[in-house]
């Protein structure tokens, strides 16, 4: 039983990393309806940046988080202005092709700079070790990841549902022209939302170096997982994404641990079934 709880806990932690990376996509894909298959590239570069900061200047993981968040939000904003905006929001195929192209470029650039070997990142000492709770060993770092999920879910929920910016974003998404008519700076709201998503993805990339592994092929390896979290979670629903990410993490880890012969098969089957049963995701945003 204790072993099962440990595996379950591992799954939840794994899902937590998936969530932190995908939450930005929940905004860009779920709300803004932009299919960004290159989303994982921001996580990958975020992870690499933290590794470089740690190797060169001895910056700790904690300190690199805000740097990466702000830095990649800025990169995201610039990319949105220069590239993403010019692709029609009504032509999904163009979005798919453009962002696959960007994912290829990111993979090639990362492979050229950092080579084929996976990277490691030293976790701060505070977060290492184990806690004994009711006879079960829980890794401190995993608890920290779960804490991050709770914080980010709450923050994003408040941002989207309770703030002026969130109201502007929801209005701009549902009725861009009417929103602009009311004086909402639609383009700026989109740029800002995209930037937030990219920054959070980079933070998730840093947090996930130990859990997901980090090498130049990261963008493509996890592309399906991030898509899955958002599409199964529901359009733009932060809570739905969190649930989907944790469920995905648990199923994946439990499946690989207890049914190694089935492997990833379980996840993909789950994905197809969930998409058929809930074509609009677990939680559907009301209009």
């Amino acid at each position: 039983m204790a072993a099962f709880i440990t595996v379950l806990f591992d799954g939840v932690a794994y899902g937590s990393v998936l969530f932190v990376i995908s939450v930005g996509m929940s905004v860009t894909l779920g709300l803004m309806r932009f299919i960004n298959l290159a989303h994982g590239a921001f996580a990958m570069f975020g992870g690499f940046t933290a590794c470089v900061l740690a190797d060169r200047w001895g910056v700790s993981m904690f300190a690199s988080l805000p740097v990466v968040l702000v830095g990649f939000a800025a990169v995201g904003a610039v990319l949105e202005r220069l590239v993403y905006r010019w692709v029609s929001r009504t032509r999904p195929l163009d979005q798919v092709l453009l962002t696959i192209g960007i994912a290829f470029i990111a993979t090639a650039v990362a492979g050229k700079i950092w080579g084929p070997y996976p990277r490691r990142l030293v976790v701060p000492e505070v977060l290492t070790g184990q806690l004994h709770v009711l006879g079960v060993d829980l890794g401190v770092y995993r608890l920290f990841l779960i804490g991050m999920v709770l914080v980010i879910t709450a923050a994003m929920h408040v941002l989207i549902e309770r703030t002026r910016f969130g109201a502007q974003l929801r209005a701009a998404v549902d009725r861009p022209e009417a929103g602009a008519g009311l004086g909402i700076p639609v383009n700026r709201v989109f740029t800002a939302s995209f930037a937030i998503g990219c920054g959070l993805a980079a933070v998730g990339g840093v947090l996930g170096v130990g859990t997901l592994g980090l090498d130049f092929n990261f963008t493509f390896r996890y592309m399906v997982y991030f898509l899955l979290v958002v599409v199964v979670g529901g359009e733009g629903s932060i809570l739905g994404s969190a649930m989907a990410a944790v469920a995905l993490g648990v199923f994946d880890v439990v499946g690989k641990y207890y049914f190694p012969s089935v492997g990833a098969f379980l996840i993909y089957a789950l994905m197809v079934v969930l998409l058929l049963v809930f074509p609009h995701g677990l939680i559907r945003r009301g209009r």
Binding site: V96, T107, V231, Y268, V272, P279
Partner: protein, 330 residues
Amino acid sequence: MTGRGTGGTAAALPSDRWRIWDTALWLVPIVAYFAFPDHLVLGSQVIITALFALSLDIVLGYAGITSLGHAAFFGLGAYTAGLLAAHGWGEPLSGLACAAVVAAVAGYLTSFLVVRGSALVQLMITLGVALLLMEAANKAARWTGGTDGLSDMTFGQLLGVFRFDLAGRTGYAYSLAIAFGAFVLVRRVVSSPFGLSLRAIREGAARMPALGAPVGRRLVAAFTFGAALAGIAGALLTQTTQAVALGVLDLERSASVLIMLVLGGTGRLYGAFIGAGLFMLMQDYLARRDPVYWQLWIGCLLVAVVLIGRGGILGIADALRARWAGRSAR
């Protein structure tokens, strides 16, 4: 894109009469056979990939279904032909037919999951089905060889006469003949009333039921047809290379065939051939020098196609021709 048949008094079906440049284009692979006798193995891979891209053109270019998992059917065809040969059924043409049937059945079943959803759901389901099949092939190593693939197979002589040779002469001619047959069939289908209704659904699916067209059934038929052709392409690859690798099912294959088709131009038949030819030759040239740079190139190319060159190479050619025609008319 508007139908060519809409001019004049009565809306006629688009003509599928063979024009001179059709013949000219099909002379290219025949000339290549004699001009590059040392590169026939690459040549037959180009032809097979072009056929695969053509099958996606039916699904994406004509029926407008976004698929990021078309390799599922290519792979099914490849494994069907491979497994048949590995178990002693090495006759190529019947192997091809079996592969087409298996892929068509899979396509038919998948199509019901695909046709109703939005583009995003279509993308996810096709992707999911392809990943599912790949994982299944990976785990069923007893039959498929898993990551090692299948290579212990022998194929009989084609039509009882032609042996598959090392230089790939038979493979090349065989692939070309099958691709040509498929092309003629597809060309006939897309200029039939059925093909026209597919285009109409792509342009405005909401209005088609008002005209009495069963949208769902048409899309199911198109998806099944595309899947069957992809299965034939996969079986051809197995038969000409005498091996199946797990890669026939992977995301890279689904993505690259999509890229080729878009590069050449969707919904234009020849776009598949031009895109596949260009892509494969570039890949052969660039990837041999440095695979990383190849990825960079293909990424830049995709971004450029989306941002600048709508409609791919044939789209640009059409735009140039229209401009030239406009100027000469003035």
